[in-house]
């Protein structure tokens, strides 16, 4: 068993550089802020699912808007913000040079967060686009493209200017995540917002973008972190590594062909959902190899190791569940139900977030030059997050399955369906409360670590010692 610690690990090569600490720490801090904000919105949305009247008479918080607010602040604010920052930091460390273009990263991060803040106000006042995962109002969308590109430049420079000639899995996934978001976001904006396609083609383009966010952006970002952390925590090369390049290209090449799994039975050409089954079965190779490559993490213990373990496990489980739900026979029972939210929660929270939590706990000490201020808060946070994710995924999944079964019975009215799933939805509300509370622990711990670091005069000393060693 390998125990992970919260102490800064021995540095590989030079430190990221003092100049990059400010922008990176700010970006991490803001991402944690969005995480807490999205927790509040998710809680409101969860309550509204079983008590429709809750806050719905407030124009800014109708269920549709709260859902969009929660999703946007979580995906772009937290997962995107923390993911891009962690990957830039990892690419810089793997490159062995101080971070170049840190000011580009800083400026990009400021505009990214301003864009999200403006976008959330826009959503609350009714400017959402009504496309899933692309809810930010059209007037902030171009800003998001430029901001993400500016943040990505720092990562690209770190990658191209690396000292060692070879590349690692973290490199491929990281660069892919940084490069493909601006492209996918542009393609989605052009086809949906600036020159909207006709009729249901919008649904097809939106489904493609949803898939791109999952498989071309968040998955690469989180796998870049997972591969890096696995190698660092386990302390040796990943097993079955020779299969990793093919698994990577499998994800990039066929990942978004499965967009049709969101449109089964809909008014779209039938080949689109069929293509999803075919391409997702090819993606199973990717999931299998990721499982093989990262299997040493299942031997890890300690808080960071457990979070990583949970994240990788959730990713594999997500692959299996999403694959099954591609099939028409199963989609018939899961489509349009809470099951879809459960699957999304499993991916976004169980996989992406948990891996990012592990990355944060591992990387922030390197930036601060000292460990997290409170290991107790850290284990409290991770335990809470684990419980919350398991509870909400199981509750929503169960609610979805029972809802799907009774929806097939034409005689069962919606009132009856709603009372049937109410207990599960109450459990989900409890789970969201646990998640919110545990994320507050992360925020408090982060702020305390930051403060104790600023107060202690030895920051620069610690850093220079770090680079000297």
């Amino acid at each position: 068993m390998i125990t992970s610690t919260i102490q800064p690990p021995p540095s590989d090569g030079d430190m990221v550089g003092l100049h990059a600490r400010g922008p990176l720490l700010t970006a991490f801090g803001l991402a944690i802020g969005w995480l807490v904000a999205s927790g509040v919105f998710s809680l409101i949305a969860a309550i509204q699912l079983h008590s429709a009247a809750f806050l719905a008479d407030c124009e800014y918080l109708t269920h549709g808007r709260v859902r969009a607010l929660a999703e946007t602040s979580f995906v772009y604010g937290w997962a995107g913000g923390a993911g891009i920052s962690a990957v830039v930091l990892i690419l810089s460390r793997l490159g062995g040079n101080p971070l170049r273009a840190a000011n580009w990263f800083g400026a990009g991060s400021v505009f990214w967060n301003l864009g999200i803040a403006a976008g959330l106000v826009g959503i609350a006042t009714g400017d959402m686009t009504s496309f899933s995962l692309l809810q930010l109002p059209r007037y902030v969308q171009p800003l998001m493209v430029f901001a993400s590109a500016a943040m990505g430049i720092a990562g690209l420079l770190a990658w191209s200017g690396r000292r060692r000639d070879g590349t690692f899995a973290s490199h491929w996934y990281g660069v892919a995540g940084l490069v493909l978001l601006p492209w996918a976001l542009t393609a989605a904006q052009v086809s949906l917002l600036w020159f909207p396609m006709r009729g249901v083609l919008q649904a097809v383009a939106a489904a493609w973008y949803t898939e791109a966010v999952i498989f071309l952006w968040l998955t690469p970002l989180s796998l870049a972190c997972a591969c890096y952390l696995a190698a660092k925590l386990v302390g040796r090369a990943l097993p079955s590594y020779e299969a990793a390049p093919l698994a990577f290209w499998m994800l990039i090449v066929v990942g978004t062909w499965s967009a049709g799994r969101h449109l089964v039975g809909g008014p779209v050409p039938a080949w689109i959902p069929t293509m999803a089954v075919f391409s997702f079965s090819m993606l199973l190779y990717h999931f299998a190899v990721v499982g093989l490559n990262l299997r040493p993490v299942f031997g890890l213990s300690g808080s960071v190791g457990s979070a990583l373990k949970f994240g990788v496990g959730s990713y594999l489980l997500y692959g299996a569940v999403a694959f099954l739900a591609c099939f028409r026979g199963i989609a018939l029972r899961t489509q349009f139900t809470h099951f879809a939210s459960a699957t999304e929660q499993l991916f976004l929270y169980g996989s992406v977030s948990m891996i990012l939590f592990a990355a944060l706990y591992f990387l922030v000490p390197q930036l601060l030059g000292r460990g997290w201020s409170s290991p107790a808060l850290m284990s409290g946070h991770l335990a809470g997050a684990t419980i919350g994710v398991v509870l909400s995924v199981v509750a929503l999944g169960w609610a979805g399955i029972s809802q799907g079964a009774v929806m097939l019975e034409p005689k069962t009215g919606f009132g009856e369906i709603a009372s049937g799933v109410r207990p599960y939805l109450l459990v989900n509300t409890g789970a969201q409360l646990v998640l919110l509370a545990s994320n507050l622990l992360l925020a408090v711990n982060f702020l305390r670590s930051l403060c104790s670091c600023c107060q202690g005069s030895g920051v620069s000393t610690a850093l220079s010692e770090g680079s000297a060693s």
Binding site: T167, G199, P245
Partner: protein
């Protein structure tokens, strides 16, 4: 993967190919869909939504109604959509060609609304809908911000809601729907696609088999 430019090129080409295949492929197939002209009736389907309804769709979108309601009827045998009275045939791409922002949705916390304006035995009246939007029900949230409660000056407005019980305004006051409420209701009652296009007819297996024999 040591060759940086080649690696980046590979990434972008993969993404462009996938996007083109799915999005442009579907566009190639459906982008040129035209309304269907019925010689017998002497008019074409679907009809363009009225101005009020088109504006109402924007209200539907900005309130996020699609978070709970879909607007797509699935084919017979795939779900109970038609048994539930949501439509007499499956929705097809042609139904949506005049919609600026189709709201096909992905979640059914509430019923499907694709043919809401043609509910049987009779569609809900505008008054019922406005009352539901104003006061809500057990399952449906209230949206009082779509209405104005104002003092009656002179005669009460013809548009004022007839509310009773808890929802009724205090004496001397009336509840009048805002323009947004009116357009939203017009949109909901305009949701109807009864015409059976050739592509919307269910494929009958027996017929298909017979044709195969010939």
């Amino acid at each position: 993967m040591k060759n940086g430019p080649l690696f980046l090129f590979g990434l972008l080409v993969s993404a462009v190919i996938a996007w083109s295949a799915i999005v442009l492929g579907a566009h190639g197939q459906l982008g040129g869909l035209t309304p269907w002209f019925d010689d017998g009736e002497g008019k074409s389907h679907p009809a363009r939504p009225t101005g009020l309804a088109a504006r109402g769709q924007l209200v539907y979108a900005d309130l996020g109604c699609a978070a709970c309601h879909t607007q797509q009827v699935r084919r017979p045998g795939f779900g109970s959509d038609q048994e539930r009275g949501w439509g007499d045939r499956q929705s097809v791409a042609r139904d949506y060609i005049f919609q600026e922002r189709p709201q096909i949705g992905s979640s059914r916390i509430g019923p499907d609304l694709a043919n809401f304006g043609a509910r049987k035995p009779q569609p809900p009246s505008a008054e019922t809908l406005l009352a539901l939007l104003h006061s809500g029900s057990d399952r449906h949230p209230a949206f009082p911000f779509l209405f104005e409660t104002r003092k009656i000056e002179g005669e009460s407005s013809a548009r004022a809601l007839k509310l009773s019980g808890k929802a009724a305004p205090s004496v001397g006051y009336e509840v009048v729907p805002s323009e947004r409420a009116v357009t939203l209701v017009a949109y909901l009652l305009n949701l109807n696609s009864p015409y059976v296009y050739p592509e919307a007819k269910p494929l009958v297996r027996a017929v298909a088999k017979e044709e195969g024999k010939k």
